[in-house]
């Protein structure tokens, strides 16, 4: 149960994040169209779909890297892309924490400096306080021992966790994860899942996660949307477990059951 005291400006009626009829395109090439979904406060929301369906592109439009061709992205009812750039940066800095697919640690800085940099730039804290807080954030993800190491010296899983610590640097209340378990072994990946749930509960944050790793999705996500590469929009809404057990759409079923089928859903070479 999230502590209500650290959730900002609570209003039960509006969802924390919402996409309304969003169309994303690169030039004439449409990635997703008429896409709508709500992300509720405190949830772990999964954006699912096969490779190349535009999951990461949808995430890009939510963290301010790609302006949608049409439609709105609402942050607590505020139309994010209609805001001035100044305001968008303010929202992003104050509320968003992003873990990129390849961790995107700044390679010239040590792990500690990676976490400390946003605090140095955007808070008035002194060096001692910044060091304490960045050490705490690294300790939260179990990486306090790597404070003085360079990203190049770390393994993939450690880099992911360090990237997560950096995403937490400014105490965001909305965390975006792009393929957090990609390239991790099952044990590391399940530890990362636990960590994400614990951080969500502890920090009272909301998590948007882009992934196609089924075990992780079933384990942590409590809501979600399924994107299709063929119809170029969402074809199902709900948590991964719900979609697996109750969704009748053959594409969703194939994905959730991890098989490649034809129209009748049976198909060759089933993996059960």
């Amino acid at each position: 149960m999230a502590d209500p005291t650290i959730v900002r400006a609570q209003d039960g009626s509006t969802p924390l994040l919402a996409l309304r009829d969003v169309t994303l395109a690169f030039g004439p090439k449409v990635i997703q169209q008429k896409l709508s979904f709500d992300v509720n406060r405190g949830s772990i929301f999964a954006v699912m779909g096969g490779s190349g369906c535009g999951k990461s592109t949808v995430l890009k439009s939510m963290i301010g890297l790609l302006r949608p061709g049409e439609g709105q992205f609402l942050v607590e009812g505020e139309d994010y892309w209609a805001d001035t750039e100044q305001r968008r940066i303010e929202i992003g800095r104050g509320r968003f924490g992003v873990l990129f697919q390849n961790s995107a640690l700044w390679s010239a800085l040590t792990v500690g400096e990676n976490v400390a940099l946003p605090m140095q730039m955007f808070t008035k804290l002194d060096d001692v306080e910044i060091r304490r807080l960045s050490l705490l954030k690294l300790a939260l993800v179990g990486m306090e021992h790597a404070y003085d190491q360079l990203p190049a010296e770390l393994s993939g899983g450690m880099r992911k966790r360090a990237g997560l610590a950096r995403a937490l640097a400014l105490d965001p209340d909305i965390l975006f994860f792009d393929e957090p378990s990609a390239g991790l072994d099952p044990i590391t990946s399940s530890r990362l899942d636990d960590l994400i749930v614990n951080l969500r509960d502890g920090l009272g944050a909301t998590v948007v996660i882009v992934s196609h790793e089924l075990p992780s999705l079933f384990a942590i996500a409590d809501d979600g949307v399924f994107l299709s590469a063929t119809s170029k929009t969402s074809i199902a809404h709900g948590s991964p477990v719900f979609l697996r057990d109750y969704c009748s759409d053959p594409v969703v079923q194939d994905f959730m059951q991890r098989r490649h089928g034809n129209e009748d859903g049976s198909g060759r070479g089933q993996l059960r």
Binding site: K124, L135, D171
Partner: protein, 356 residues
């Protein structure tokens, strides 16, 4: 009992730090009272973590049950003790070790460069025999980006250098009524030195930097490892076409640079001085014998070989991060420019000995 009240927002700063001696001689079980806690963030967690670690060190029993759920979950993620990071070793400056290290580094570098040259020459020989893993496509694209794409900058620089030489010469020579000797000055200076050195510097900056950063990036992406696993020698596949491209284009660009330099000097001379175009032309022909061109030609071959090898070597040595790619490019350009000038000086001395 540790009582925390009010607002605890670490991002606003000014939060206290819990030190070991704050614990005093407190002996009982260590508990928390958070009834009057207001808004909080990870700043509070940092403080509580300090307190818990201090209490653990003093061997106190810690009772977390009265803490809010969220805070307890975060504290559960944190270790009860952290190892102090090892103090960096203070190194003593020992001049002989330092000097010896530098000498060994330099010799190693000479060795590595020679090794690379040998490998690449082997690739060259195999290429002539038709057995090298050198794709004509790579050689062609490298040659195109080193040569034709550099024509503009080579033209502009050499034309202006020729014009400047003529200008400087004209002002001086006019005083002795030796106007016509501007043609000798421009012709000799351009053909013997300026066109070769200028083209060398341009190629070091333009192509050498590009080679170093390309190979360094490939190293960072494990592309070189992939080549090694399939058994494609880097020296044949990457370095040979790069170096060959420079060796092929440099002399051609040099001849083109000579032409443009003399043209620049010609335009300035006939517009400033009392010389006819035909007179300038005849004077230039007489002043610059063929062996001067041959001398410049040989020099630029050597420059091309050196720039290509050195910049590829620097790229192969680079680290794997973004900053390392930048460092490699910088080093390649610096080494290339210094190398061109130094080799030019050596050639000047040699030419004097041989009498060219």
């Amino acid at each position: 009992m540790l009582v925390v009240k009010g607002s605890w927002l670490g991002r606003l700063g000014g939060l206290p730090e819990f030190r070991s001696d704050d614990l005093g001689d407190f002996g009982g079980p260590f508990g928390f009272d958070t009834r009057d806690l207001g808004r909080w963030d990870t700043g509070l967690v940092a403080f509580l973590w300090d307190a818990i670690r201090a209490a653990t060190r003093s061997g106190l029993k810690i009772d977390r049950s009265s803490l809010p759920d969220a805070i307890r979950k975060l504290l559960d993620l944190l270790p009860d003790e952290i190892a102090e990071p090892p103090k960096p070793k203070r190194s003593v400056f020992r001049p002989f070790y330092w000097l010896g290290g530098k000498v060994i580094d330099a010799l190693t570098e000479v060795g590595a460069l020679s090794d690379l040259t040998v490998q690449m020459s082997g690739g060259g020989v195999r290429a002539v025999l038709g057995r090298a893993m050198l794709r004509p496509v790579d050689l062609f694209s490298n040659t195109r980006s080193a040569g034709p794409s550099a024509l503009t900058i080579v033209s502009v620089v050499n034309f202006l250098v020729g014009a400047i030489l003529a200008f400087v010469g004209a002002v001086q020579l006019r005083r002795f009524a030796a106007d016509i000797f501007v043609a000798d000055l421009v012709g000799l200076a351009v053909v013997r030195e300026m066109a070769a050195v200028m083209t060398g510097i341009i190629m070091a900056g333009r192509t050498g930097g590009a080679y170093a950063s390309r190979i360094a990036t490939m190293r960072g992406n494990e592309e070189l490892d992939a080549l090694a696993v399939v058994g494609i020698p880097v020296s044949d596949y990457l370095i040979l076409p790069s170096v060959l491209a420079l060796v092929i284009t440099m002399p051609v660009l040099y001849l083109y640079g000579c032409l443009l330099g003399i043209l620049g000097g010609f335009l300035v001379a006939i517009s400033m001085l009392n010389i006819t175009a035909l007179g300038y032309y005849q004077q230039t022909l007489g002043a610059v014998p063929f062996d001067q061109f041959a001398f410049g030609f040989v020099k630029t071959l050597a420059f091309g070989l050196m720039i290509g090898l050195v910049s590829c070597r620097i790229g192969l040595l680079a680290g794997r991060s973004a900053a390392d790619v930048g460092i490699a490019a910088t080093r390649a350009v610096v080494a290339g420019i210094v190398g061109v000038i130094a080799m030019d000086a050596i050639f000047a001395v040699l030419a004097d000995v041989v009498g060219v």
